[in-house]
């Protein structure tokens, strides 16, 4: 597989043997790529360095690249906030159960819609796809969800977003690409549709499912909108709501909730507290995302090229 990939990828001549014009192009390309990487990475590096730097060095404006006067005291301070842990746990709950429900529903929708013999296939496809064309919008949806008694309920973070039609379509076209013979043979041997979904379709599209799991998990982890609309109680609120309070509003409230003498010291450290929170929020994403990198192309390609 790798040998094949290596052979089919074009590689330009080496730098030393190419013409002056090509050399100039090479240099321009290198500058552009390095610029793109720097622009993307620097904000994160800066946030990271501030979060580990000594408060005095930050106040003097000494921190530009790497941490100055390395310290983890802001981390210990932030980790002392009970609201941080509450919201972290809530987010973990919504992410784990939300993603699980997402994947189950995505497969339950994609498998029937991918079976060519299914007599309702065209009708149900239209039923599903129409929701991408038109939606009731924010207010009627809000009325439906609150009307079901989901206000201040954990289910409000899961039920309204059980399924993303776009992701389901990626899954459906992956299942459509499974050779029909496999299903026919299994069917002749008396396999049920449940069996064929779980033992033929799902195992054969694992790369796509991995990417979809990532998309869903990230969406659940980052969900701010539903939490803002439906969760008023702070013991139910996820990390993103907490982050918004710390990052975008006056942090006084957060500092008061610490309720200790450390609050005074904390007031001087508002910026550091904010950057520590950004690091704590970004770490799970940065840890998980690179793992599915090799599948990422499969997942995005199918979605855009085949509908």
């Amino acid at each position: 597989m790798t040998a094949l990939a290596k052979r089919t990828v074009h590689k330009p001549d080496s730098f030393s043997t190419e013409s002056a014009g090509d050399k100039a192009l090479d240099i321009v390309i290198w500058i552009l790529v390095l610029f793109a990487v720097a622009v993307t990475a620097y904000p994160f590096l800066y946030v990271f360095s501030i979060s580990f730097s000594d408060g005095a060095a930050v106040a003097r404006g000494d921190v530009w690249f790497l941490p100055r006067g390395f310290t983890t005291e802001t981390y210990s301070m932030v980790m002392g906030y009970s609201q941080l842990w509450t919201s972290y746990l809530n987010t973990a709950f919504y992410t784990v159960f939300g993603t699980l429900a997402n994947m189950v529903f995505t497969c339950l929708a994609a498998y029937p819609l991918s079976r060519k013999r299914f007599f309702l296939r065209r009708k149900l496809n239209f039923f599903v796809v129409f929701t991408m064309y038109f939606s009731g919008g924010m207010i009627p949806t809000y009325m439906v969800v609150t009307g079901m008694g989901l206000y201040n309920s954990r289910l409000a973070m899961i039920l309204p977003v059980l399924l993303s039609t776009y992701n389901m379509m990626i899954c459906r076209s992956a299942m459509e690409s499974v050779p029909e013979d496999l299903f026919e043979n299994a069917s002749l041997e008396g396999a049920s549709d449940w069996y064929m979904m779980l033992h033929i379709a799902v195992p054969l599209i694992k790369p796509t499912l991995a990417v979809l799991t990532l998309y869903y998990a990230v969406a659940r982890y980052n969900d701010f909108f539903n939490a803002m609309l439906y969760l008023g109680r702070s013991d139910l609120q996820p990390l993103q709501i907490f982050l918004r309070r710390v990052l975008l509003m006056s942090s006084a409230e957060v500092l008061q909730s610490a309720g200790t003498a450390a609050a005074d010291a904390a007031a001087k450290n508002t910026l550091k507290i904010r950057y520590v929170c950004i690091v704590l929020a970004a770490v799970p994403i940065f840890c998980i995302t690179p793992f599915v990198q090799k599948y990422l192309v499969t997942g995005t390609m199918l979605g855009a090229v085949k509908g």
Binding site: R117, P140, M143, G147, L163, Q240, R244
Partner: protein, 315 residues
């Protein structure tokens, strides 16, 4: 038992037999059906409240009993001073995002595939697509804090060079620029993935053939790579056009403040303030329905365009 011959034309079978044959598939789809019914189609029914004087208290059921007022809320919206501003802001934010945001991933993808250092190219790709997965709250939070007039790094630099601190987030003239730049910053790496894949899929012998003809690498980019990825580019462009008006509510909501409503307030945030904050459900639904209807027109036309230009529509 049906004979195999009949299996070729399932449409000819009686319904009861089809239901029996596909009962498992129907059962599988049932929960999904209920989800769409409740959370997608029921709100569409609820849009009726845009034509009613809907009162709080009776819950969603009030949709079926509230008095009918016709187009009163639509008239109120289009006669208000906000209508034009909201439509203009929504359109311009999307339009600038498209103009500025669409070419960057393509240029980046071409650059990254031209690098000889494959390992570095891979790393660069991972680094640049990571921001895509970061939440809007964090991205806006970082931007706001970097741009803060008192402690932000940007204003520190401006002051170090003898300039005066700028209150970026509080100025209407900066809102669109910040929205577009941060949006592009967050998504260019991820959007490049598909173009990188398209370029890597080009047959290497085509490069060789061009080299034999004495083509420079710049000519290879212009005459080989760009034509080869133009299908993907057109398809994605049409897709983006279809969602043109889908301005991210979350991001605008987190970025804006009354000081920048002049350029920052969009239809979705107005609907939120009117509906959720002020409880004018009927009026907000009417504005939302107008927004959904315009969105519908965009998606349908982009799909028709796609069918005509590329021969394939998305659905």
């Amino acid at each position: 038992m049906a004979k195999p011959v009949n299996d070729i034309k399932p449409g000819k079978k009686p319904l009861s037999q089809l239901i029996r044959r596909d009962s498992q598939l129907m059962l599988m789809f049932l929960p999904v059906f209920l989800f769409y019914l409740i959370f997608c189609y029921l709100p569409m029914v609820g849009l009726a409240m845009a034509f009613e004087d809907f009162k709080m208290g009776s819950g969603f059921a009030g949709v079926f009993s509230s008095p009918w007022v016709g187009f009163r809320w639509f008239q109120q919206f289009f006669n208000s001073v906000f209508a034009w501003r909201l439509i203009r802001n929504t359109f311009l934010l999307s339009f600038y995002s498209l103009i500025f945001g669409f070419p960057i991933p393509i240029i980046f993808a071409i650059c990254i595939t031209q690098l000889r250092a494959r390992r570095f190219a891979k790393t660069a790709q991972v680094i640049t697509y990571l921001p895509y997965f970061i939440s809007t709250v964090v991205v806006v939070g970082m931007m706001t804090n970097f741009l803060s007039p008192s402690s932000g790094i940007v204003n520190q630099v401006i002051k170090a060079f003898g300039g005066k601190a700028i209150n970026f987030m509080g100025m209407p003239s900066w809102f669109r620029k910040l929205y577009v730049i941060s949006g592009s910053w967050q998504s260019f790496g991820f959007n490049a993935i598909i173009f990188v894949a398209a370029i890597m899929g080009i047959d290497p012998t085509l490069y060789e053939a061009m080299k034999v003809d004495g083509a420079s690498r710049w000519q290879q980019i212009i005459h080989l790579i760009i034509p080869m990825i133009s299908d993907t580019v057109i398809l994605l462009l049409i897709m983006t056009l279809g969602n043109l008006l889908n301005v991210g509510f979350e991001k605008v909501y987190l970025m804006y403040s009354p000081a920048v409503y002049e350029t920052g307030d969009v239809i979705a945030t107005y609907v939120y303030r009117q509906g959720i904050e002020n409880k004018n459900f009927s009026y907000a639904s009417a504005v939302g329905l107008f927004y959904s209807a315009v969105g519908f027109v965009f998606v349908v036309s982009s799909n028709a365009l796609s069918r005509k230009v590329t021969g394939s529509s998305l659905w």
